[in-house]
Every structure is written in structure tokens, then in C-alpha cells.
Symmetry: C2
Subunit: 357 residues, 2 copies
């Protein structure tokens, strides 16, 4: 797969002469043969999700987990834990670093920094800031001859792919994204900040009736609030006023006020039993007309028991593609839009064509 | 997009030095600037579907329709009709030929022939013969410096992409493909050959109950007959024996005998009113576990009013990608597995990232 100087893939020779960045790529220690050497940067829910995904990838190995915490306080499933400040001394030993920090505080700083020395993957999901993040990472990666895949995961990521194919194959149409049923961390945090709330989770749910109308081919104009409703489960502090808490939730601007919101008060035992997972999912629907009155519907759906484990799995596959494309000489910033699907899969191209086409 | 010597795309420079095939590519007349020049080879339902799709593509133009019939007997929506034997004299004037013949008789011969002179796209869908067809096309295309994308459409094609991403993102799991509700041309033809049948259509339908169990996360082992049932609408010849026709249908080996088959007899007027469209669709479902007991479901669905118009739309987008990738120096055979999604879309990469990621 990572043949010297040429990435022969799917029968197409991408490079007939040595790729210009190939020598420098070798200096960086790209694994031309053998397993793809991966490091995880940040060991929260997402970092653990990536670690679990790598256990399914026989062509990849997890070399180390880097952390800002004291390494001796971090327990992995087996990989050595290393202080993040030591990362630069690993140049030449790692093919791809998977940045598992948060979009709010970490990735905008960390991904360009890591791209100075390593190929890198991140899950940057602040849609409004993606163009700026892409530009910053692209400049650094091009200057240093590395390859950086940003904004991978499920949305942005898998859902972005669904949107792009919908646009490609049905250029005249409308695209709808519905999120849920799924846990929203941001909305859960907002509820937890209300006085009297001990524990809380918020689930985003699609408005099923409107989604079914769209799936049946209707072109509706819907606001976000017409596409989603909100379901909250709260454990109250001893003596807290349930009505006041409910009122504080349903009237909260932006977060809840525009939405149909259902508030449920439950016991601490029920909370522990039913609400500690991190499910998520949703739907991307493209309704197009190829000729007037001829309606074509493309629909993608995810139903995830664990958001961080699926996101981690997409990041692991993305790291595989980055290692292969970097070895073939690619540099700069990319997204999943720029990755041939075959590059994400462990199976070789002939097997993929024979059994999966 | 088709910048000279380098395909700068998604921030990644695929070629930092002139691509080796680029000069020869220019000799073949690849449109470096301006619209992508497309020809349709074969003007049946699929050819007309491609023609309709190209009407939505402002970056592409349909230069000619090639046919084996007498050109004066073929009426297009506007493109000139040319005898197929004249195709070689169009070298240098066409960027991509879209082969719209049938898999049973035409494409195995035509696609290698066309690839001697032109970049080409086909919808070859005989799964068992794909490896041999790929090898034959790849050898010719590499020898002549052309690029050929085979087996595009909805299945193989869009559904193949769904299967590949499912495999990439959930490597431990099972993949299920359900076809329908949709018109099967082969099964309709088989019914029409029965004595006493004047008109007939056959719809393939997924066995809804089994599909819902899988969507709920169950891993079932299902035969094709457990995944699909068959629904037939027949207009009888005057005086034909309905019971004999029904018996001939439901006992037909391979085609109907293994399946739950429903046979309906209708009038010629009902047939004309309700059964002359070519709807199709189906579902690709990947059920995976990222850790034991943590189930993740990836589900893709198509609901198509017109199979040939959607297939034509996928072929048109594929032709766009082929023109761009050929201009960047790619040669040989490829499938949609080898195409970065951004190459299929008319929008430029920055717009795609900003609005569709």
C-alpha cells in the first residue's frame, strides 16, 4: 500500500515519478512498510474511543498516549503514557498523531502546533470556525511538509460525506440534517448550572413527524426548532423547587426557549441506571428532483450507542488514510472530502472491489 | 480547479511538480479551463438520464450523443447525434465519454475500446465479472494514458460507498443490503416470457420486519429470500388462464420459487396508469460493535422515483471527477472508492468546507 515513491491504489498510479515530498516524508519516519504508528494526544472520552478503535485495526499500532496531566495519574489499556511536552522528541517514531482535545479550547491551538512536526488528525467541530482553522493548519502543514486531516468524526465527518454525496448526485435539491436521539453535552452542562440541579442530561430528538414528511419527499422549510425537540432528565438537590427548575430550563434563551422541551425529574438511582451512556445519532436527508416531479431521496442515518467510540473509530480510519496519503507525498490540510474512501479501509483495493463494490 | 500541472484541491497539493501524464493529457484535449466536454455513448433510458443530469451541471456540456442506430432516427433534447463508428475522429474534442450501454452485452466490450482514445465512465453492474472487467479496462487505459471509472451508479456506486464507509468506520460488524421497493427489469422480462402474459412488471420489496430487526441492532443471518419478497403485476392476453400464469410465475426457479411472491392481475388501463415508471431504491445497513455490547448502526437509504435518472446523475458527477483527476495526471481504471468526494461536486473546495462540512 505504501510503496516507495508511488501509491498504486485502485489501479490508478497517483505518482509515476517519485513524489516530491517523499524524501522529506521518509525523514519524518513514515512507516513505508509495517504497521502505521499512531499516538493519541489527550485521554478523555474521545481518546479512549480512539484507543478502542485501534484495537480493531491490525494494520495500526498505538505507540503512546500523550497527556497534559501527570502521566502517572493516567491509566490506559496498555499504551505508555507520556507528558505532552515530550511530544517533539518523538519525531521520526510516529506516523500520525490523533488530537483528542476539545474544539472549544484545545484544537485551534494544538492542531497547528502538532502539524509542525507530525501528520495529524482532529475532530474540530465548531462549524463557524472551520474555514479559519483549516487555513491556519494548512499554512503550518504546508510549511513543515506534514499532512493534517481536520474536522473528522460523525458530524462534521460521516454526516459531511453524506451531505457532499447528496449534493454531488442530486445537485438540484434540499439537504436536511436532524440530530438525535442523542445526548448533548453543551445542553446538559447548561442545565447543571441551574441552582437546585444535582445531575442532568439533555437529549436532542428529531421532530419525527416533520422528518417523516421530508423522507416522504416533501420539501419543507424548517427552523432548527421545528426539526428538534429537547428532553431533559434532572436529579434535584435535596429540597430544591421542581417548578422553579423546570421554569429556568424551558425559558433559557437559545438553549431551550425556542424548542419544545420536556423536563423529567428522576431519582439518583434511575439516573445512574439509565442515563450515563453517551448515545447519539441522526439523519441527513437530501431531496432532489432530477426532472420536475421526479423526486429522489438520499437518506443517511446513524444510531450510536456511544458517540465517543464511534467518533474515535472514524478518527482511527482517518489516521490510516493520512499515513498512506502522506507517504505518497500529500501535504497541507485536508478533510474527509479529499480522501478516497479506499484509503480509509484496511482491506486492499482488489478485495474491496471484489466484495464491497 | 484544473490548474496547469497541479490539482490544488482541499488545500492539498497532489502534484508539486508537473504531473508526468499531463502533456499527453493536454494532447488528448482535456479542458484545462472552461466546461468539461462530455459525450454520451448509447441513448436508451440511461443515456437519457445522463442527458437530464447534465442539464443541472453548469460546469459541464454535452457535446454529442453517439449511437449504433441510424443517427437520424434518434431525437435528443438538443445534442447532435453521431454514428458510434465516428467516435475515434472526436479525439481531442471530448474530455469524458459516458458509456450508457448494458452490462450484459455492451460494456465489457465497449469500455476497453473507448478507453483506447478517451477518458470514460461506465455503470458495469455484473458483480461477479467486476474484477475481470476492471483488469481489462485498467490495462487498456494505462497503455493509452486514459482514465476510466467503472461500475458507477447506485448499486454498484452509491451503495458501494455506503458499504465501504461502513467497513472503514465499523471494522467489526456485519453489512446488509436490501433492495427495493423497486422495479426489477430482469424479473419483469422473465414474467413477460410466460405464455398468456401481455404486460408485466415485477417489484422487489425488502422484507420490512427483518429489516427493522436489523436496524434495531440485531445481527441476523439472512438469505436473499429472507431479505426480499416479490410483487408482480400482470396484464393477461385475451383468454389466458390466470391460475396457470400464477403457477408458472411462483414456481420459476431462482427468479421466484425461493421468494414470497405476490401475483396481481390488472387491466391494461391500470398498468398504463400505475406501472410505467422505473422506481427503485433500498437500504445498506452496517451493524458494528466498537466494544462488546456497544452497538453502532450506520444506515443508508435511497428512494428513487426514477432509477435511470438517478443512475445518470451519479454517472454525470463521476464524469466530472474523471475529467479533473485525468487533468491531474491519473490514468488506469478506478471506481468511486478511489475518488475524493470533493472531486464529484461542482462547488469549489472552500465553499464545500464552509457550507457542507
Amino acid at each position: 500500500m505504501l510503496a516507495s515513491g508511488a501509491l498504486a491504489h485502485g489501479g490508478i498510479t497517483l505518482f509515476s515519478s517519485p513524489a516530491p515530498r517523499f524524501a522529506e516524508t521518509e525523514e519524518r519516519g513514515i512507516a513505508i512498510m509495517g504497521k502505521i504508528r499512531v499516538a493519541i494526544n489527550g485521554y478523555g472520552n474521545l481518546g479512549r474511543g480512539v484507543e478502542k478503535a485501534l484495537a480493531h485495526a491490525e494494520d495500526m499500532e498505538l505507540l503512546a498516549v500523550f497527556t497534559r496531566r501527570a502521566p502517572e495519574t493516567v491509566v490506559t489499556a496498555g499504551a505508555p503514557v507520556v507528558a505532552l511536552r515530550e511530544l517533539p522528541s518523538w519525531v521520526g517514531k510516529i506516523d500520525v498523531v490523533i488530537n483528542c482535545g476539545g474544539s472549544a479550547t484545545d484544537l485551534e491551538t494544538q492542531t497547528p502546533q502538532v502539524a509542525e512536526h507530525f501528520n495529524v488528525v482532529d475532530s474540530f467541530d465548531n462549524h463557524a470556525h472551520i474555514p479559519a482553522h483549516f487555513a491556519a493548519v494548512d499554512a503550518t502543514a504546508k510549511e513543515h511538509g506534514t499532512l493534517a486531516l481536520i474536522s473528522s468524526g460523525w458530524d462534521p465527518g460521516f454526516f459531511s460525506l453524506q451531505r457532499a454525496y447528496g449534493l454531488a448526485f442530486l445537485p438540484a435539491g434540499e439537504t436536511y440534517t436532524f440530530w438525535g436521539p442523542g445526548l448533548s453535552q453543551g445542553h446538559s452542562d447548561a442545565v447543571r448550572r441551574i441552582s437546585g440541579v444535582k445531575h442532568a442530561v439533555q437529549y436532542t430528538l428529531p421532530v419525527e413527524e416533520n422528518m417523516q414528511r421530508i423522507l416522504a419527499g416533501e420539501k419543507l422549510e424548517l427552523s432548527t426548532a421545528e426539526k428538534h425537540r429537547r428532553q431533559v432528565f434532572v436529579v434535584l438537590e435535596e429540597g430544591a423547587d421542581a417548578d422553579a427548575v423546570r421554569e429556568a430550563i424551558v425559558t433559557m434563551p437559545d438553549y431551550f426557549a425556542p424548542y419544545e422541551t420536556e423536563v423529567n425529574f428522576i431519582s439518583e438511582a434511575e439516573f445512574a441506571r439509565d442515563h450515563t451512556g453517551m448515545p447519539h445519532g441522526g439523519h441527513v436527508i437530501r431531496i432532489g428532483e432530477t426532472t420536475p416531479g421526479t423526486t429522489q431521496v438520499v437518506h443517511g442515518e446513524l444510531k450510536l450507542d456511544s458517540n465517543p467510540e464511534f467518533t474515535g473509530s472514524v478518527l482511527a480510519a482517518s489516521a490510516r488514510a493520512v499515513a498512506r496519503m502522506a507517504a505518497a507525498g500529500a501535504t497541507g490540510a485536508i478533510t474527509l472530502f479529499d480522501v478516497p474512501p479506499a484509503q480509509l479501509v484496511a482491506a486492499d483495493p482488489a478485495e474491496l472491489r471484489q466484495h464491497w463494490l
